[in-house]
């Protein structure tokens, strides 16, 4: 449950996320002893609280403090406002069509937000945090136009060596192919966040989700349909992929600039670099910030 509140001491407006401590349901059935037993602080919120506390960056939401009473946990964080998903759906269709002026405005705003998205991600990666849940819903827009990264429930602390991690991360539409293909414990690291950021980017420009699959395989098909089926999968992904992939239809890569009407060439180039199959050749957040797309003065015009 999330509520807005105001501090009586400082007058600060904050958001409280209240978590009722549930007895664990995930425990295996054979373990009757453990079913319903108190497992202490829930793992996901433990990671969220600790990682948010470790962050200190203008583009990452600030967690003010945490309280932990018997059976109830409350996370107090700064109040930001609307999230990007709501922002996109609040715009009417004509913003995303060829209607020149309004579309231009969306494109500019997209660039302005994307820069902050990448700054936030770059900061997290630089201190060793893997976000694993980058999507429009997890970016909040404050009243002065600053974007704040949130949604650390799935994040974890992980450093350079790639290690097998769990598969059940990242909302499906934003999930990178190496997670979908990697088996039960796929090996992945920072590039998965870049993939998700690329999907977010496209969504801000077009107003629609880039790849909207209904299942893991459906998601994969959507990706291949746009970006082309890789001819040699083991080489494209640098690991053994399941053999069923050879049965998939062979699609040719489509042009991204057609899909993202109106986006300038640099923008399309950046997006294509963010959506490369091979995790190691995918652009890093830091390099993306140096990309020509962000060069020059792009401060927002008042509308």
């Amino acid at each position: 449950m999330v509520v807005k509140c105001e501090s009586r001491v400082s007058g600060k407006v904050m958001v409280v996320k209240r978590i009722k401590k549930m007895p664990s349901v995930s425990g295996d059935a054979s373990d009757e002893d453990e079913a319903g037993a108190d497992q202490g602080f829930p793992v996901r919120y433990l990671r969220e609280a600790c990682l948010l506390r470790a962050c200190n960056h203008p583009n990452v939401m600030k967690l003010e403090f945490v309280t932990y009473h018997e059976g109830q946990i409350e996370l107090f964080s700064e109040f930001v406002g609307l999230n990007v998903e709501d922002y996109i759906s609040s715009l009417s269709d004509e913003y995303f069509t060829r209607n020149k002026q309004k579309h231009e405005w969306v494109l500019q705003l997209g660039r302005y937000f994307m820069k902050q998205v990448l700054k936030g991600i770059d900061y997290c990666h630089s201190i060793g945090i893997l976000l694993r849940d980058v999507k429009p819903r997890n970016f909040l827009i404050s009243s002065d136009g600053t974007l704040k990264l949130t949604g650390f429930v799935l994040a974890r602390f992980s450093l350079l060596p790639e290690e097998p991690l769990t598969q059940q991360v990242v909302t499906l539409s934003y999930r990178a192919p190496e997670i979908i293909l990697g088996g039960t414990y796929p090996v992945y690291t920072a590039p998965v966040d870049i993939w998700s950021a690329g999907c977010t980017f496209a969504e801000m420009i077009t107003g629609r989700t880039l790849f909207e699959g209904d299942s893991e395989i459906g998601q994969l098909l959507k990706i291949f349909k746009l970006l082309g089926t890789p001819s040699d999968c083991n080489k494209s992904f640098c690991f053994e992929v399941p053999s069923y992939i050879e049965l998939l239809p062979q699609w040719q890569p489509q042009s991204l600039s057609e899909r993202l009407e109106g986006l300038c060439d640099e923008g399309v180039d950046l997006l294509s670099r963010m959506l490369l199959y091979h995790p190691c050749s995918r652009i890093t957040a830091r390099d993306a910030l140096k990309h020509p797309y962000f060069q020059g003065d792009h401060s927002l015009m008042k509308t």
Binding site: D33, A37, D38, F41, L46, R47, C50, L159
Partner: protein, 168 residues
């Protein structure tokens, strides 16, 4: 993790020594001086026991490093009575696993390995106390992070890396 018992024993000794100095560097000067009933020998015993537990559960090193770090930081801030000392250790282990590993042990199992000297409720309470005391700050550099970073930078082979891991 494919170590035989002999080399494990050796590693244990080294591991323990190294972490001993490490934690001194990391945490405050007043490390154990605040404690009234807990002595350095007791810490050695506890850390040895934790290393054994950690090995039984087959977790990776960062988890162990975090466990010991948490324990030391907690002891530097809070006076722990002797009978709660093992609870503190096992709780630090629980937090370490929760934070670092894909799966974490059940609280009941942890209570079992202390031969029920710490009940489930004890551990849950201690966890809360530890989290609040440390201000939810579990993200600290661990020896293994440095090792991985440096060995990657130096372009070492896997075997050399494993040697390095052993000495940490």
């Amino acid at each position: 993790t494919g170590l035989d018992a002999q080399s494990l024993l050796l590693t244990n000794r080294r591991l323990e020594n190294n972490i001993w100095t490490q934690s001194h560097a990391c945490s405050m000067r007043t490390h154990l001086s605040r404690q009234e009933t807990v002595t350095e020998e007791m810490r050695t015993v506890l850390v040895n026991w934790l290393i054994e537990v950690h090995f039984k559960f087959r977790y990776r090193e960062p988890c162990l490093h975090l466990t010991i770090q948490l324990l030391d930081r907690f002891l530097a801030r809070r006076v722990v009575p002797r009978r709660r000392y093992q609870t503190a250790g096992v709780t630090a282990f629980l937090l370490g696993c929760k934070f670092e590993e894909r799966q974490n042990p059940h609280v009941g199992d942890l209570s079992y390995i202390t031969e029920y000297s710490s009940t489930r409720q004890n551990i849950v309470d201690m966890e809360r106390e530890m989290l609040l005391q440390l201000g939810f700050d579990l993200v600290q550099p661990k020896p293994s992070c440095f090792l991985e970073r440096f060995s990657k930078a130096a372009g070492l082979e896997t075997t050399q890396r494993i040697d390095g891991k052993m000495s940490v």
